[in-house]
Amino acid sequence: MPDASGTVRHGLWHAYRLRWKRRRFLFRIWRKRRQIRAVADRTGQITEASILAFVTVRNEIVRLPYFIEYYRGLGIDHFLFVDNGSDDGTAEFLRAQSDVSVWTTQHSYKLARFGMDWVGWLQWRYGNGHWCLTVDADELLVYPDCEARDLKKLTAWLDEKRTCSFGAMMIDMYPKGPLKDVDYLPGDDPLKVLSWFDADNYRDQIHHYYGNLWIQGGVRERMFFAKDPARAPTLNKTPLVKWHWRYAYVSSTHQILPARLHDVFDFTANSRVSGALLHTKFLPLIVEKTVEEMSRQQHFENAPLYADYHQRLTENPTLWHEEACHYDNPSKLVALGLMSKGGWV
């Protein structure tokens, strides 16, 4: 299948190489297992049917109260957090939650494949046989009818269909007006202030190496990456997977090996059920946080390339525009064609 990045690789040899790649990732995860240390281990609570959430955080005290509450409501039974050296009370907050296990580390986020090595180890140990949701603290998962049907129903339904992964696209949410000019208090629903998004400026193509659908676009591309579209943020994710100890995420949750797990779309013009991760990155605190991140340089492979992006974020920009779409409910995303109901009726 031709696409902008050349021919998609396939065949037995490529499959074999991916297999070794996966083994290398697993080895790497195993090698780095001692980088994290348990500070609150409540994994004894995990039962056979538990749905688990895996999150790496750093200084997310503002988002976490709502985050935890939201995912509890969605049917997550146990949270496994890796705290990467927070100093704003995140660790204390997490320890105080009865359904949260916390590990801590001071090691480099970047060298741990942006936390995937740490989370990978926890998944290896605790995830096997469970439905595992791997998200960031600024991502809220929605899917068709999620107000009425929690993850227990969705995962049971996916089990019934013998599907072991669920795709969701990231949608960047932004406020009306300059980023810093809105009020947000911890515990509030971030979507009350970040209630706007770009409805459809997303580009899809097949990733030439991993074969996943590679989605780029959205507000960040429109505002910050128009000069270099190839560098625009990747938006496709496979956050929900029925885990097996042999699985490994590649780069964030954009790709996963074995590659069949991120085949969450159809070539044959059909559509499968899919969800969306509402990305609450652009809360007012982004402006200060960016200043800090710029000095830490822990976020991207090639930090200098993103300097312009970060520079502009510190200038309190307005992302909103006349054609911005207001977020009302998941059905709106279905109507717009950002996610699909598929056979999930």
């Binding site: 009425a148 997303y202 109901k341």
Partner: protein, 567 residues
């Protein structure tokens, strides 16, 4: 008369026990079959919890793997037990632990009492009804299936192929016409007895033991030999997805199920507390005799199947990404590509907007930026006007644009000065109507008042590019609606083409043109073109423009029908 229930259970014992109790309390004897795979630790408490009901009994346990004979053997034993131990039973209802009665059981009983001779079983011949999934329609009756479909899929498929290649076939027992249908039936004592006591039963059993998914065909076929009156429909509301797997009903299906007036529905999500609380509905004497009508439920679920198998045309998204060679239509709705018209008529866009109320974009693929309808920097859906973003993936830009304003008919201008990467996508898209006036690029060059020698190179470049575009449009792979006219042909009779465009865009709403756009002044164009020729650059795409035709355009403003009203 009494209704007996045969219940198949392999999981969800809590709900199954609840349902069994429910049937028993309504006075129906229940024979429960539990899959022999179920461990004693689950089976024993389940059996224990129902021990207080003398009319709930358990039949011999079989191993029920999906698609195998075990399911039929289980129902045979349970049904035999039912007929022997409960002589009052007149109808036997086959249900599962995940079946939920929607209406009072009394109503079901009354309904059956009025139809004491009728067997309710969906039963259709495979020859007439192409229902099945996976292509094994007739063949499930004529091939052998020693491998499990779920666990040994590869062997299953290969063995089927092997038999197909070798042309192996099983013999279908005499008199038997294979029928298929929903596995959830409700049969009369007479019919069921006749099936179970059939002198040839051993033959049939042996035969069906080798059929694939016999629980969808055993009773469905044999009932045709014995029944007095068959109603070929199931009393159990069960919907299946495109893979033939049952849909699950959740709490939010409450209203849908209420309106269906079906007697029993499956499969119910085991935690659907609202459904288990709400059903069966209370007795309503006025509605007691109503027929089940599953029409609305059918519609909702068949929409899902359609969505799952066809998807939304023109939508490219995370869970729908049709490959280009499989799909003829790229855009979500029809749209028009207009090349050369805005060169001939400087005022073309506003004129077209007035005539059709379509969304008339400028040069979307211009080199500098995308010129959206109102020259905005961001169009609907957050589509950016950045040329770089657009050209990074032009096809996605186009599909997003069409999808975002799919409530409107969109048109855009195109030309040889624009980015050309999109040309094959346009040419192959059945949703596109492409109208080209070839050689119209000569008009702006002519109007620039530069001499032919100055613009010669530019003219040659534009002509080369347009020629390439025309080649795509004329290739056998082009599937768009394409109309090509040379500039000369066009200015001879512009009205004709314009009227066709208007009709095409406005559809049935198109009316006769009342107002025509102002044509550029072309006096002197033939000389200009001749000059180009003299320079060695033959503008062959313009056609042969006579001085006469060109001069006509000059008189235009003075002629009544060519005047633009300025109100």
């Amino acid at each position: 008369m009494t209704l007996g229930v045969v219940m198949l259970v392999h999981t969800g014992f809590g709900r199954a026990a609840q349902m069994a109790r429910h049937w028993a309390e309504a006075g129906c004897p229940v024979i429960i079959h539990v899959d022999s795979n179920v461990a004693a630790t689950q089976y024993d408490p389940f059996a224990q919890s129902l021990s207080e009901f003398p009319d709930i009994r358990f039949s011999t346990r079989h191993r029920c793997e999906w698609g195998t004979w075990g399911m039929v053997a289980a129902t045979q034993d349970a049904a035999t037990m039912m007929l022997e131990e409960f002589p009052d039973v007149q109808h036997v209802y086959l249900a599962s632990g995940a079946c939920l009665p929607l209406r009072p059981i009394e109503e079901l009983r009354d309904y059956l009492a009025l139809r004491s001779d009728t067997d309710f079983i969906e039963s259709a011949t495979t020859a007439d009804v192409p229902w099945t999934i996976g292509g094994l329609e007739r063949e499930r009756f004529t091939l052998r299936f020693p491998f499990a479909w779920k666990k040994q899929r590869w062997l299953f498929d290969r063995f089927v192929q092997l038999q197909q290649i070798l042309g192996l076939r099983r013999k279908i027992p005499e008199n038997l016409v294979p029928h298929m249908g929903s596995q959830w039936w409700c049969l009369t004592r007479q019919t069921l007895d006749a099936i179970l006591q059939d002198p040839n039963r051993a033959v049939y059993d042996r035969y069906f033991a080798g059929v694939w998914i016999p629980d969808e065909s055993y009773y469905q076929s044999l009932v045709r030999l014995h029944a007095r009156k068959i109603e070929s429909r199931s009393l159990t509301l069960a919907k299946f997805d495109y893979q033939g797997k049952p849909h699950i009903f959740f709490d939010d299906h409450l209203e849908l199920l209420q309106r269906s007036r079906c007697f029993v529905a499956r499969k119910i999500w085991h935690d659907a507390d609202v459904l288990y609380r709400s059903f069966p509905v209370a007795k309503d004497p006025e509605r007691a005799t109503e027929e089940p009508r599953s029409g609305r439920v059918d519609r909702v679920f068949s929409q899902a199947v359609k969505r799952r198998t066809r998807g939304r045309q023109g939508l490219y998204m995370q869970s729908r990404f049709p490959s280009s060679d499989r799909e003829n239509a790229v855009g979500a709705t029809p749209y028009a590509v207009l090349q050369g018209f805005d060169d001939v008529f400087p005022d073309f866009r506003s004129w077209l907007t007035r005539q059709t109320s379509a969304e008339v974009h400028g040069h979307l693929f211009a080199k500098d930026r995308a010129h959206f309808v109102d020259e905005s920097t961001v169009y609907r859906g957050g589509l950016s006007d950045s040329a770089r973003l657009r050209d990074y993936n032009g096809k996605m830009f186009l599909t997003n644009l069409i999808w975002n304003a799919r409530d409107k008919h969109q048109c855009f201008q195109f030309g040889p000065a624009d980015s050309q990467d999109i040309r094959w996508t346009l040419a192959k898209d059945t949703q596109a109507s492409i109208w080209v006036v070839t050689g119209a690029w000569a008009i702006p060059l002519f109007a620039s008042d530069r001499s032919a020698s100055d613009v010669r190179a530019e003219a040659a470049r534009l002509q080369r590019i347009e020629h390439k575009f025309l080649k795509s449009l004329r290739s056998p792979e082009a599937r768009a609606r394409i109309k090509i006219k040379t500039l000369a042909e066009f200015i001879e009779a512009p009205m004709e083409t314009l009227q066709t465009i208007i009709d095409d865009i406005a559809g049935h709403r198109g009316t006769a043109l009342t107002e025509v756009p102002q044509m550029a002044d072309l006096t002197g164009l033939p000389d200009f073109l001749q000059d180009l020729k003299n320079q060695g650059m033959h503008p062959f795409l313009t056609g042969d423009i006579t001085e006469n035709a060109a001069a006509q355009t000059r008189t235009v403003p003075r002629r009544k029908p060519y005047v633009i009203s300025q109100k």
